[in-house]
């Protein structure tokens, strides 16, 4: 036998390393996670005690933005970096608004994908596949994507709490630009992103902790770097704002104190062909 597996063989499943998808679930109080994920989430929460609120805000933003897109007539959603679609996930929100809505979840974590498949069993209009955001053209060309998503019609592309997992070396701005170019006019791109804008110190601490201890790098980007993800798009009001401030349903739904959120969010619409 050959001593070492060739590099083109698929990667295995490593349960010893925390996964961002399961950490996120742990922060939301779910139990779709392992000890290693809970420990990493707890470690981060010790540094920034209101971290669960950030997760909550982000999930609430997802809910609001999907509902907004549904109101705008979007009936197909591509959720890249979806993690584990537990409660308040995109397909529930979208299909509650319009039952014919299709949702395709994409995640790089095979456990999250297997998990999603289990949760989505029986839902004909929602499915999950393993895919890599870092190869956007390949991803959009994937036959499973093509069969779920009609690229001739507007798409709601959800990049919620995922771009901050791509270091600059993965060229996240090029990734978004590629996706934007390949989507049809009338499509929306929804982005939420951890940011160093409001609390640079907390952001730096969490960033260091993520890099050094959990082994899952998280990039807290400044506001302008997050805004440039929307280049070539018409940014929907109120623009790129703190997570809880993006079109809250009511005062009472704002769970975080304004000016303190670690996340920025925005929605952009492709109004003209880009190149």
């Amino acid at each position: 036998m050959v001593a070492t597996r060739p590099s083109w063989a698929p990667e295995g499943v490593d349960m010893e390393v925390p996964s961002p998808a399961r950490m996120y679930d742990a922060l939301l109080g779910g139990s779709h996670n392992f000890e290693v994920d809970r420990r990493a989430a707890a470690g981060a929460s010790r540094l920034v005690p209101d971290l669960p609120k950030v997760a909550l805000s982000n999930r609430a933003f997802l809910r609001r933005s999907v509902r907004f897109l549904a109101d705008m007539g979007i009936r197909q959603f591509l959720d890249i970096g979806s993690g584990i679609p537990t409660v308040g996930n995109a397909h529930e929100v979208a299909q509650r608004a319009a039952p014919e809505s299709r949702v395709l979840y994409v995640d790089i974590d095979p456990v999250a994908v297997a998990h999603s498949e289990a949760i989505l069993a029986g839902n004909e209009r929602a499915s999950a596949i393993e895919g890599d955001l870092r190869s956007p053209s390949e991803l959009l060309a994937d036959p499973r994507v093509r069969s779920a998503i009609d690229l001739g019609k507007p798409v709601g592309l959800l990049l919620v709490a995922v771009l901050h997992l791509l270091p600059d070396a993965d060229r996240p701005h090029e990734v978004v630009a590629t996706l934007r170019d390949e989507l049809p006019v009338g499509s929306y791109i929804v982005i939420s992103h951890l940011s160093s804008a409001s609390r640079p110190e907390a952001a730096a601490q969490l960033g260091d902790q993520a890099r050094n201890q959990s082994g899952v790098p998280i990039i807290f980007r400044p506001r302008d770097e997050i805004s440039t993800f929307f280049n070539g798009l018409t940014v929907i009001d109120p623009g790129v704002v703190e997570l809880p401030l993006w079109r809250p349903e009511s005062e009472a739904d704002i769970d975080e104190e304004p000016g303190r959120s670690l996340g920025l969010a925005g929605v952009g619409r492709k109004d003209s062909p880009t190149s």
Binding site: A9, V13, R22, L28, G29, H32, V87, G88, P110, A118
Partner: protein, 706 residues
């Protein structure tokens, strides 16, 4: 205050108390509605008789199902179910003595429902999570297994040799194909170094490249190497090595891919050999000969052999006989000459050539030539016949000719024909004086087509004057060749070569076109409508079936009146007539083209014949005037011939122009004899077009000022 109002208000306060508890699913408005429902259930539980704990448990479970799982949710909920609950909803739940007792029971039921549901949910989610992890792991393992199986299949079944090598160059793994190429079993190779795969002559280079591969300087290298197998066979292997790097960029191992190119090499060698050898005799062919000649060490000797009368053998005995003779001659030459370290090649047909490198003296070539002739000493037997075959040889040495291969070959060719001219069965040494002429002819002939294409030819113009007033009436166009290497080549050299090679037709047409173009320009510039250009026409041109069409077509294209063109023909061109030539001349004359007989007096000078030709002018050759060239004494005999010629020509209605007029007395005498025109140094030699134009300009000015 209605009961519904109370429920709504209580639910609102309950919702407010839960603010911030982790539960992402609902908006505040939805939460209000949700808790209103739970409040209804709680009041129902309070009113039921007997007390129904399951209603309380359902509320606890509903909270869990709505993802309100935090312990603080239970705390806050139980806190709400105290005095506030009783006060706010007293109308609905009653306020009897046992109310607080029932509230306590309700607390227990809600907490119990909450705890049980939480436990069940967590267990279920953990179960799902475990199962998902397991499924993912199994899928990954399955994919890994499948990919490994594929890799194994590729590895084992590949027609190319594949090997895996570690960082030290030790072979970890080889497939059967690789082992087969090396003539060993796979297990015999594993654990050895790549030196086993790479032949000794390439091993240094291979390790140098391998070092670069390990160091990350290159990603792959490729080389061709030969390998001596244990069974003594030698295989040629085309080997590529590629580094397989891990995520940090350092190589984990190397993959070598080898292709057995032994057959390909053999085929290439055979093709190379076949493309460079003559299939009939097996001798090197022209291609290989020239390769060797180009690369030969100086000085060089060449013997160019051609069989005498070989065509006769083919014609009388057939090609089998011819081929047989060629094979025998080739074999004899090979046996006799090759041991001397010379190359014997068959150039074409019955031509062979021997190349002698480092040929110290011309005598050495002569000795080889003698040996070559000696192979014809014995007759060649074919089909019971004894054929006496001889050959002629041209011998050259680079000391006499120079080292240029092309020149050497031409010299050898020329010398061969000299040898043949001397009689069969001889060799001739290159004669520099004679050879140079021949070589020049040879090179002129080969250079002429390109020279025409590259505008190396040009025209000079010599005035043709009327003797009566010495005015210029026309120009004779005379072709010149500015050869880039030989310089100005005289027409005396290249015209005969052009006639021999047939290039004269193309050259003649070029002269015609250029002459007509120039005449047209002068026509436009000076407005002299009776000025003509006189162009020489060779006999072969006149015999071209398209000649008339070419001339008239050119005139038409240039837009020159036919009367402005004169064609000069030699007597011999029109003598002994071919009917065709006569017809052509009549047609041209009818179209208005002037015709002149050139060099009259050098040939048969058949005036009777001239009378039948549609000719306008007779040009008396310079030789008839030669006797009076030096002094003023006129050779009486020649003078009489000139006088008679002029008189006779006039009686036939022809003009007469004297060529080569150099002195005033000559001109005076010719005037006296009523000669019409003249040409010669006295009136101006051939000049470039610019000077000709100046002559015309001066003449026009004089005419205008007169």
């Amino acid at each position: 205050m209605t009961a519904a109002h109370s429920v709504e208000r209580f639910a609102g306060r309950w919702a407010a108390s839960l603010k911030g508890a982790v539960a992402p699913a609902m908006t505040r408005a939805e939460l209000d509605v949700f808790l209103r429902g739970l409040t209804e259930q709680l009041t129902e539980a309070m009113r039921a008789e007997p007390f129904r704990p399951e209603l309380g448990r359902a509320v606890g479970k509903a909270l869990i199902d709505a993802h309100y799982r935090d312990a603080s949710v239970l705390n806050r909920t139980l806190a709400m179910l105290g005095d506030e609950f009783v006060t706010e909803l007293g109308d609905v739940i009653g306020d009897g003595a046992d109310v607080m007792n029932r509230v306590a029971k309700l607390h227990g039921a809600v907490a119990e429902g909450f705890a049980i549901a939480l436990r069940n949910t967590v267990l279920a989610e953990q179960e799902t999570t475990q199962r998902a992890a397991l499924a993912a792991a199994r899928a990954a393992e399955e994919r890994r297994r499948a990919s490994e199986a594929r890799f194994q299949a590729v590895f084992a079944g590949a027609a190319v040799g594949i090997g895996v090598v570690d960082l030290t160059g030790t072979v970890l793994e080889v497939n059967d194909a690789m082992a087969g190429m090396l003539g060993r079993m796979p297990d015999e190779i594993k654990g050895r170094t790549i030196a086993e795969v790479i032949g000794p002559e390439n091993i240094g280079q291979a390790y140098a490249e391998f070092g670069k591969l390990v160091g990350g300087e290159i990603d792959r290298f490729r080389l061709e190497t030969t390998h001596l197998r244990p069974d003594g066979r030698v295989t040629s292997i085309d080997l590529s090595m590629t580094a397989v790097r891990n995520r940090s960029g350092t190589p984990d191992f190397f993959i070598g891919v080898a292709v057995d190119v032994t057959e390909r090499r053999r085929l290439q060698n055979r093709l190379w050999h076949e493309s460079r050898h003559d299939s009939l005799t097996g001798l090197p062919n022209r291609t290989l000969f020239f390769e060797r000649l180009e690369a030969a060490e100086q000085p060089i000797g060449l013997c160019y052999l051609d069989l005498d009368g070989f065509k006769n053998i083919n014609d009388s005995l057939g090609h089998d006989a011819g081929d047989y003779v060629l094979r025998v001659v080739a074999n004899r030459l090979r046996k006799s000459i090759e041991p001397d370290g010379c190359t014997v090649a068959r150039m074409a047909g019955d031509e062979f050539v021997v190349l002698i490198e480092r040929c110290g003296s011309p005598d050495r070539v002569a000795r080889e030539a003698e040996k070559m002739l000696a192979v014809f000493g014995r007759p060649i037997e074919f089909d019971g016949e004894r054929l006496s075959v001889t050959g002629s040889i041209g011998v050259v040495h680079s000391a006499l000719v120079g080292a240029d291969p092309g020149r050497l070959m031409r010299a050898a060719d020329v010398t061969l024909y000299q040898a043949k001219a001397n009689g069969s069965g001889r060799w001739a040494r290159y004669d520099p004086a004679r050879g140079e002429r021949e070589l020049t002819r040879h090179s002129l002939a080969t250079a002429m087509p390109a020279a025409l294409a590259h505008d190396e030819f040009l025209l000079h113009y010599q005035p043709l004057v009327a003797l009566a007033d010495s005015s210029v009436r026309g120009f004779e166009a005379l072709v010149r060749w500015d050869h880039p290497r030989l310089g100005r080549v005289s027409p005396g050299q290249f015209i005969p070569v052009a006639e021999e090679t047939g290039n004269i037709n193309a050259l003649g047409q070029w002269v015609l076109e250029q002459g007509c173009l120039q005449a047209r320009r002068w026509f436009d510039e000076f407005g002299i409508d009776d000025l003509y250009v006189s162009v020489n026409v060779a006999a072969t041109q006149l015999r071209q079936p398209t000649f008339v069409a070419d001339v008239l077509g050119t005139l038409d294209q240039v837009g020159l009146p036919a009367t402005c063109l004169q064609l000069e023909l030699t007597e011999s061109a029109v003598a002994g007539d071919t009917q065709g030539a006569l017809l052509a001349l009549r047609e041209l004359a009818a179209a208005g083209v002037r015709l002149a007989i050139d060099d009259f007096g050098t040939g048969y000078s058949n005036l009777a014949h001239l009378g039948r030709l549609p000719v306008h002018q007779l040009k008396i050759d310079r030789s008839l005037l030669a006797s009076s060239r030096r002094g003023e004494v006129v050779d009486p005999a020649h003078d009489k011939i000139v006088a008679a010629t002029i008189s006779l020509a006039h009686s036939l209605g022809l003009d007469v122009l004297a060529e080569g007029v150099e002195t005033t007395p000559q001109a005076d005498r010719l005037r006296l004899l009523q000669c019409d025109g003249a040409q010669g140094m006295l009136f101006g030699g051939p000049v470039p077009v610019g000077e000709a134009a100046e002559i015309l300009a001066r003449q026009t000015n004089r005419a205008n000022s007169a």
